[in-house]
Subunit: 308 residues, 2 copies
């Protein structure tokens, strides 16, 4: 997590661009080119997503520290889409961005080891190590307890990677389970405590550990409460922009040094051109950059100067 924090401080920008590219968001000139080259099929669609992502990464990589591709939007286009995910991760890393794969993966024992190898580590091919996706961080779901998280911790330690565990999600029905009370604590507070515990031997210079938490911007009061209770847990905050949150909703996620969280915007950035007066889809990359700068400055205005 320390690598991410240093990048945030360098750019003075605690935001991450979500790459959740439905085909409908991809400008028609890219789609047409790819359908012509590969056919109007899953491969053509997947390569259109990758072309779209590449242009976004090029437009953002010197101002935005991280990208967060959402696995679902790639799986929707079959293994061909999953190939575009691998290509996107590799391209973003090549451009110096920190890559968080949003996969919310969860399982136990050797199966969780397989996910950890797939998304953060490397796969053993009879003695040779080969990287499959190898992002910098992965979102995970902790419902199965420590057996689902321990296999990740070893890879975090050995390879300087991170995980973000779902604690309090940004959706309206998140409370059906997460807000229920276990003794004097809610389920999400219990999960937050588990994150502090899982990360206790993996803290970096900033004090934050390799085990972060997903905490939605749509519940600002919970953000502040959790920031206080989980001093070593870095937050990934979805829900800014399209899901309704603004800078004032996310400010409580940050500590007194202006760090402690990274705020995601996906559609807000990817589809920025469609909300700009006079913009056309040909301007999508420049419009994405303008929106990323607006978002950065919006959040800077409430957080102030960030110090590692």
């Amino acid at each position: 997590m320390q690598r991410l924090i240093e990048k945030i401080v360098e750019y003075q920008n605690p935001t991450v661009a979500g790459l959740d590219p439905k085909l409908a968001y991809v400008p028609s000139f890219i789609k047409e080119k790819c359908f012509e080259k590969y056919g109007k099929n899953l491969e053509g669609a997947a390569q259109a997503l990758f072309e779209f992502n590449k242009a976004l990464i090029d437009a953002l990589c010197d101002i935005v520290p991280a990208v967060k591709p959402q696995a679902a939007y790639y799986e929707m286009y079959g293994w061909q889409g999953v190939k575009a995910l691998a290509q996107t991760i590799a391209y973003a890393k090549e451009k110096g961005m920190y890559v968080i794969t949003d996969g919310k993966r969860n399982d136990i024992g050797t199966t969780m080891e397989a996910y950890a190898a797939a998304h953060l580590g490397a796969t053993d091919l009879e003695g040779e190590e080969v990287e499959a996706f190898s992002a910098d961080a992965l979102t995970v779901n902790g419902y199965l307890g420590s057996d689902g998280i321990n296999p990740l911790l070893k890879i975090c330690a050995d390879r300087d990677k991170s995980v973000f565990v779902l604690v309090k999600t940004s959706n309206p029905s998140s409370g059906e389970l997460q807000d229920k009370k276990i003794d004097d604590k809610t389920v999400y507070e219990t999960m937050g405590d588990m994150c502090e515990n899982w990360g206790k031997d993996l803290r970096g210079a900033s004090g934050y550990s390799a085990v972060g938490a997903v905490v939605g911007a749509t519940y600002p009061e919970m953000l502040g409460e959790l920031r206080e209770k989980l001093p070593h847990t870095f937050f990934l905050v979805p829900g800014y922009g399209a899901q309704g949150g603004g800078a004032n909703d996310v400010k409580f996620a940050f500590d007194k040094n202006g760090i402690g969280a990274i705020v995601n915007s996906s559609r807000g950035i990817m589809c920025a051109w469609s909300k700009e007066e006079g913009s056309s889809e040909a301007d999508f990359a420049a419009a994405a950059r303008r929106e990323a700068i607006r978002m950065r400055d919006d959040i800077r205005s409430v957080v102030g100067k960030m110090k590692a």
Copy 2:
């Protein structure tokens, strides 16, 4: 779920073969052939997994009603492995098997719609519908509440598909969250109630709905308790064999008609040859069949005749 239940009754066999193929489980003659053809790389490894799966499916498809490929083991071999997953699903369906993709996917809103389209439904390519993975069922994690499940219910209704929600998992640390008490109910009982509710409009002729639950065989007393409390929720039961459960541990998952659950074995079947006196890896498929028959008969002996 009704399709699965009818297949179980036809075969008088409430078991599912888990296809969790680490390269280390694949006989060397298959690996060598694939490495020679595709190279000792992710593609060669992935195609070795597919060849292994094909032989297992051929050996099992007339006696075992379903297979459950575990997504993690395919993702570990990159997009090439995910291609082998798609190939495995297609091959098993062609052979008449019911396919449960064990992905434990979870997210919200449009993102969950993308997972639902990817794994159970179809993807819209500008007016054309294309199937990406299209299994018969998908395991999912309900930590995010109804927003994460509703997008699946529509596809279950429209396309006769099913989901299995994690309720009580088979691992030792599952209790860290799942056994905690919310008022007078545990977290896993609360999740079980949510399953009954999500499935209430999706019940088939047998009374079981399209929303099933994952309940581990390693907690037999909970299986019986949940069978009684969740009369419309069909169970997927991991933990038989390698994880320690036997027929007596799973018998409480079944109702008075001998239905209500399907029991998984992965390594027990895939690696059966390694536990048989005098067997070599060349016999892996025949040994898998013998173990599948032994497991079927073991479970039949405690469950009796199955009636839909």
